[in-house]
């Protein structure tokens, strides 16, 4: 990674034959451009969009974007830049959620019932998973829960399993990532990290 960046810098200094100072400015200009694009966008903007649109290499773009994320994080103002659902997006700080709802009249997204959450957690960690396996884990029939989750576009069929009857297997969607403010599936807390289910009863 580090090499890539250095190459990039060297390449540019060859082209423009400017002192070091100039490149930092260059980066700042590109960073500003990325920021502007993000500012206008309704949807998370994937890294590939920047790479393709502005012909910068991926590592470079990633470094610039991540430093933007850090800048907004350090500033700790009303706006944060968030890596979400495989892209970058400006969001308001959760600190002001309550006030924004009151003043601007934005609505709070509807939460999920306990059963839906349970089902969703199982699907998220065990995908692709078939209905029967979900039922088995929860000890109750989960057909309704899966149907409701599909309605909310949080899960979708992702294929069929080579089991008797070739049942549909379910997985989570991009919407799921957005809903929980995750960037990618591996950002889910590790199951082993989730404490308890130890054998003592300190809850």
């Amino acid at each position: 990674m580090a090499n890539d960046i250095e190459d990039d810098v060297v390449e540019k200094s060859d082209q423009e034959a400017e002192p070091d100072e100039g490149h930092r400015d260059d980066d700042e200009v590109i960073k500003g451009l990325l920021e502007a694009v993000l500012f206008l966008s309704n949807e998370p903007v994937p890294l590939s969009f920047f790479v393709n649109s502005f012909s910068i290499d991926q590592t470079h773009a990633k470094i610039l974007l991540d430093s933007l994320v850090d800048e907004y994080e350090d500033r700790d103002g009303g706006i944060k830049l968030q890596e979400i659902a495989k892209g970058y997006q400006f969001v308001t700080s959760p600190r002001y959620g309550e006030q924004l709802r009151r003043v601007i009249g934005v609505r709070k997204r509807e939460g999920l019932s306990k059963g839906m959450l349970e089902t969703l957690a199982i699907i998220a960690y065990k995908q692709p998973i078939v209905l029967a396996e979900i039922d088995e884990l929860r000890g109750v029939s989960s057909r309704m829960m899966v149907a409701k989750l599909m309605e909310r576009t949080l899960v979708k069929p992702v294929g069929r399993k080579e089991l008797p009857g070739r049942p549909l297997a379910y997985g989570t969607t991009n919407e799921f990532l957005k809903y929980f403010g995750l960037n990618k599936l591996s950002d889910l807390p590790k199951l082993s990290e989730i404490k308890e289910f130890s054998l003592n009863w300190e809850e």
Binding site: K80, V91, G139, G181
Partner: protein, 264 residues
């Protein structure tokens, strides 16, 4: 399930003295209930006995029935599972009989419970994540309005007239369209295929359609084929995958098929 817990919590005096289980905050499912019972007993899950937990579980079901709660089948299934485990434990195992031995929960049930708990905790974590992300808002631009304004030019009276004419034209087009109801019946198509089979023993699948079949004709013909196959009047043969399907009279096929399944 929430109505169950409401009703149970609403009636705390209802339970007999040997049944100290009433403050279930929230269970939705037999595993949840089971877990709660074990927790109430304050015993390690590996040490609790099957008979103890079965008793409690059944007492709970009875209580729910008493309160006129419609007990979900899932709960009853778990009860029978528990009874099954219990009866298994009661059978002599052929090992050294220990008078004081109390059979614990079977490991598969313990495993199931722990696994369930794991995901229940995971869902709690997801809930926390949701709480944070539900407080973040993103912008909602109306993209079209911003971008496309420059693309529109001035409109002359002529343009306006033309646009008006276009609308009139398109209305006419719609008005004049005659809706042709082409009636194709499955029974007709069946007759047609039967007739074709009178003339030759084997028909190639594409031949049963007219030159330019309408969507209706294709569907109806297909249904006719299915019906004929179902009633064992025809037999469908194919010599290789994606090869042309041939339609054969059932009697003919029965003779031909066993020795050499469809020649060329």
């Amino acid at each position: 399930m929430s109505d169950i817990e409401d009703k149970i919590e609403a009636e705390p005096g209802e339970n007999p003295e040997n049944n100290p289980i009433i403050h279930i905050d929230n269970f939705d499912g037999p595993l949840d209930l089971l877990w709660d019972l074990i927790k109430k007993a304050k015993i390690d899950i590996t040490e609790i006995t099957i008979s103890h937990i079965t008793e409690q579980y059944l007492a709970y079901l009875k209580l729910m029935e008493k309160l006129n709660v419609r007990v979900a089948t899932d709960f009853i299934r778990m009860a029978s599972e528990l009874l099954f485990y219990k009866s298994c434990a009661l059978l002599p195992a052929g090992q050294i009989e220990d008078e004081y031995f109390v059979p614990p929960l079977p490991p598969e049930l313990v495993q199931k419970l722990l696994e369930f708990k794991k995901f229940q905790n995971a869902s709690r974590r997801l809930m926390e994540e949701f709480e944070v992300s539900a407080n973040r808002y993103t912008r909602v631009n109306k993209v079209e309005e911003i971008i496309e304004i420059d693309d529109y030019g001035e409109v002359s009276l002529f343009d306006l007239l033309k646009a008006f004419a276009d609308v009139i034209q398109s209305r006419k087009a719609v008005d004049e369209k005659e809706i042709v109801f082409d009636e194709i019946l499955v029974s007709d198509r069946i007759e047609h295929i039967k007739n074709m089979l009178e003339r030759s023993d084997v028909i190639q699948f594409p031949d049963i359609f007219t030159a330019k079949p309408s969507r209706m004709e294709i569907v109806v013909t297909f249904m006719a084929i299915l019906e004929l196959a179902r009633t064992r009047i025809i037999k469908l043969l194919q010599h290789k995958i994606f090869g042309t399907i041939r339609i054969v009279k059932h009697a003919v096929a029965a003779v031909q098929a066993p020795p050499a399944p469809e020649g060329a």
